[in-house]
Amino acid sequence: MPKLLTVIVASLLASGPADDHLLQGARAFRAGRYAEALVEFKVAEKMGAGPDARAYAAAALVKLDRPEEAVALFGPKPAADPVLEFYRALACYQARLFTCADKALEAAMGRFGPRVAEEAKALRAQIQRTLSGEIQAQAVDWYLQHGEDALQAGQPGLGLLYAEEARSLGGRRKDCHRCAEANALQAKAKAAAAATEARR
């Protein structure tokens, strides 16, 4: 994804103490050295590079096959940059958060360049195929369990996404499998997320 480098370089126009690390991270990312890129982006964030560094670090986590951490790092709001939003969708998809991925892709579809748009289209088709089959009760159970686990691990944002996915998938079944529990978990996760946000 060379465009990510362009995005990062463009953000460096206002040079600061953390920008060297952002640039080094971008170079490592382009060279496929994703662990190094992640470290540089995180150091840049510690040195005051702002929320962009966090999103770049999340993109590196996607490449390192750590999607849940990436989803948590991206946060609930869509990324301003469509390329980063595509990475957010990828993170959701890898974390099996299909609804989250589909929503992100749908919202950003008009802003993608031609190549990313093609990839996004293929990914959405794949998501539709996955969701068109019969939803097993165990799948809903899995999402609820992951949501609870994420809440207990102090990641309410991730917990909320899993709860939403559980509610969405449960609602596709005739028996609305564990929909009430999914609703309760969503409420709990929202409250925890709000409390976390207030502490910040």
Binding site: L38, V39, V43, K46, E69
Partner: protein, 492 residues
Amino acid sequence: MSLDAIHAPRAAAFALSLWAWAAGAEPIDCSKVEPAPAPDPAAARAYLEVGDAEWRQGRTATAAVAFREAIRLAPSSAPARARLLGLCRESGQAPDEDFDRAVRAVEEGRYEEALSVLGPRFAGKDAPDPATALLYGISLYERGDDAAAKRALELAAQSPQTADAASVFLGLLALRSGDSERAASMFDRADRGAEGDLARTARDLSALAKRDVRLAVSLQAEGGYDGNVSLYPGLSGPGDLGDLLFGGTVSALLRPFGQRGPYAVAGGRLKNFLTIDDYGLAWAGGAAGYRFERGRNELQVEYAYDGIWLGFQPFSHAHQLQVDGALDLPFARLGALASARAETYLPSQIAPPEIAAYSGPTFDGEASLGWGGGTMELRLRYRGQLHRSQEADRSWLDHGPGARALVAFPSSRLVVDAQVIVRTYGAEDPGFEGMIRQDQYLDGAISFQQDLDRQWSLYVSVGGRQAFSNVANLDYTRLYGSAGMIFTAGLW
């Protein structure tokens, strides 16, 4: 639950925990770090923090990248160098002869040697690396130094690389202290985090821990067939017909401090035959004792009293003192037992007056060697018994070898037991034409127990005895079998 069942999987858990580190390790660059042209301590601190955060999540490769950069920017940073060295050692890329020696010592059961190697590292100025903390904790656990083992294992449990193995041993410690609830929770935690055999071991231990309680009651109902009912001492000769049997047992166990310390058991049993009324048996008894443990070595002293009623009339009662223990040797587990029992037999409408002559002391002794543990166990033993009664021709000395094999499955157990006994009576018996009676017994039994859930289990048992005697007509064969249900409930 026996202590053996708990101790048995520890070696597997340990070996597998070592395997888990290696299997889960990511490739780490352990080559020499070239210093940057200009040091930057502030950036080095940021790299160190990022490295620590990654390391806490078990992301060793990313952590190593950060630590290397911290060293590059601040070559004198001791924390960064120590952390990178620790990661490289864990991944097997940095030679550490002392640590390797400690690993070998633990694997071969030389815990004192492991402690002497690991002790200075553990007590050093810097916090010990998790692998050292784990090995040190395991060695202390095996030595029986539980408080110190707990401190070391809790340190190891803070690291993702060693948390699962440490949880298993923390669970074993909790179990040893009688806290089965905490033990089950630790095993469950290890089960959730670990993979493969370590997870399976943790799961099995968790199931055992949930059954391990301080106050338990057990009820058993059985039905079966005894092919030679009349073998109760002195009542009649062999050869009576067999009969269907049915009965039940109730028992209670109290051990307020868990497996170590004082305990008391009490119980009763009823066994009746369908058509032969005189041999309906009732047994009631109780025992109190104290169990000492240090590491895998154990010693138990016990006083017991019991009584038997036959055909609803008092038949015998006895006081017994028993000491038994087991010691881990480098090549096997050595067990020993000694007991003294004062038996009194009582004449009644069913038991003839001469039954009283059997009264007297009985002394038992046994030595055994055992191998294996966990899923398979074999024990070879040699036992002897000396009975002194009021008349020499009713006294005896017997002895002989035996063997017991156990195969444990996740929720069932199969036990095979065999024993040879050679018995010689104490004097010529006028009733047997002045001969000194000499008998040989071959005993065998197989039992299978299947757990249906946490409280219910089903068992089937079959066995037999072939007796040979130098007295004509005293040879006999006895075959028996029974099946039943056992209900066990933990009340505390």
